[in-house]
Symmetry: C2
């Protein structure tokens, strides 16, 4: 690998999220040399998405010295299958929700380099293990709280891919059996429907519509409210907004208590936009975990927020897969 790295010193990492696609060109030490992004949505045909991606990429590829300096590309994507490089039935992707998209192959043909792909949250877990707060850990769970809720599970120092490459979809664990919220996956009551950034905004809208409680959020157009608006209001002392994060944290804590019974991780690591709420989310989360977890697991797991900036962990994780091709 060393000698190859000298010849081709970079890999491309793509963090393909439900909202944004972030590209980074990364060297073998994990430094991101150049970065760009496009919107993930707005393309009904995956060919248009790939074409727009390659157009954006070309600029930063030229910046680092051209395609001959690039060894490979790694992609972290929702419902990404590590075993065959496809995205399969991804509920949050307009061009990928209803079939099997051979995205690794498509990028490989356009760019002329090898491309590998995994779940976006698995990529984040690889990033945390290689460069982040999970360095040295053998058993941990990364939970991504973005447009959706994803997860990357590491057991005995290895990512859990399962029998089909799709293990670790903890956002689609059903947490409410009765009157569960509809989820993008077509089912009801999934963790993602409550504890994603969109879930938080949805909880706020529900409370605004079904209660008379005063709130700073009532000054906004209901449909425009985001999880960030809710956290800003909560920081200002808004009781309704604080209640939204309280219940979101409690549900995540209950869910993590159940996850502990599976792999008893050394740490839960939270990653993504919602973690910007900090203690607003993490305090009720930890309190709820302590209250709900089985006695033998009490006071064992750490609760950490990713220390890697923005989407860097996912980009680095995706790029790390590129080195391994």
């Amino acid at each position: 690998m060393k000698s190859l790295s000298k010849l081709k010193p970079y890999v491309i990492g793509l963090d393909l999220g439900g909202t944004n696609s972030v590209f980074g060109i990364v060297d073998s030490r994990g430094d991101i040399k150049a970065t760009t992004s496009i919107k993930t949505q707005g393309y009904d045909d995956v060919n248009d998405y790939v074409a727009a991606s390659v157009e954006a990429l070309q600029l930063i590829i030229d910046q680092v010295g051209g395609i001959d300096t690039i060894k490979a590309m790694g992609i972290g994507a929702p419902n990404g299958n590590y075993y065959n490089g496809t995205i399969e039935f991804a509920p949050n992707l307009s061009w990928g929700h209803n079939g099997v998209v051979p995205l690794a192959k498509m990028f490989s043909e356009k760019l002329g380099i090898p491309v590998a792909l995994t779940n976006d949250a698995n990529a984040a877990a690889i990033g945390e293990m290689t460069y982040g707060v999970a360095r040295g850990m053998k058993n941990f769970i990364v939970i991504t709280l973005g447009t959706g809720v994803g997860s990357g599970i590491v057991v005995n120092g290895q990512l859990v891919y399962g029998s089909d490459g799709f293990a670790g979809e903890l956002g689609h664990v059903v947490v409410r059996r009765e009157d569960g919220r509809s989820c993008g996956c077509g089912r009801n009551g999934c963790l993602e429907a409550y504890c994603s950034a969109t879930g938080v905004a949805r909880t706020a809208r529900e409370l605004l519509e079904t209660t008379e409680e005063p709130s700073l959020l009532r000054e906004m157009i209901l449909e425009d409210i985001t999880s960030l608006d809710v956290s800003i209001a909560a920081e200002k002392g808004d009781k309704l907004a604080q209640h939204v994060y309280q219940t979101t944290g409690e549900m995540l804590g209950e869910a993590c208590a159940n996850f502990a019974a599976f792999s008893s991780p050394e740490a839960f690591i939270f990653f993504g936009g919602l973690t910007k709420a900090g203690d607003l989310l993490m305090k009720p989360l930890k309190a709820s975990y302590d209250k709900n977890v089985l006695k033998i697991y009490k006071d064992k797991a750490k609760f950490l927020i990713s220390g890697l900036d923005g989407s860097s962990a996912a980009v680095l994780g995706a790029s790390a897969i590129g080195w391994e091709i």
Copy 2:
């Protein structure tokens, strides 16, 4: 190992269940040469339990040629910690529910041989992987349906012990948040409170007490009804008894659909007394799984019942740990 095996051709396996403790002396080919058992309950002091065990064991040890023919002992026990040989806060054990019991060390001192210990369900999983229906599988989950509900999870061909040796307590995943049944672990709504043999009997008793529905089970004393009575009544066409297994299977199917989102196993393997109900349990279980599982996992996992007789899988699994000391 081969040469040691010739000198000491046997290991002892102990399947320590909430009701019975089954001992087997096993040779290197997995043949059980002699077996005995004692009741697990009825000992408030663990010293008395170990003394009774050793007394029962002595008879079968003599049968195979004395303690010098025994290489080691492996124990499968509830809340058994593989890393340090202890049983910790086991809710179903009168002598082990409230502390840390160094059971491996105690047996080792009494018998003069090395002793290792793991979760009883993990032992069952090792048994299935070595001698049973999981031969050749790298990713599967064994769910034990006995006095309690346990699990042994295999990922990438390795048992999942987690950061502390206690991973895989899927019987204590909370499946009912609202008005959940009390569980032996001190919490409410655990899978075990519904889908164990005792949970099935409890469901039957609840239906008999809260409805007027006719049932063969009304001829019995309420407290004496067991899961076996319920399955016998169901086989005779008793609607109430059939309903009990229907709802039990449905809950297990819902739970397995959530477990799939964790490790996407190739198979779920069911083990223990409740599996004797056969299709009565497995049909609603599979139908519920198909209905509830995330689209990407549909029609992938096999649902199998352990082919190893009675508690053999657990005894063999426990003994397999003995060979590895």
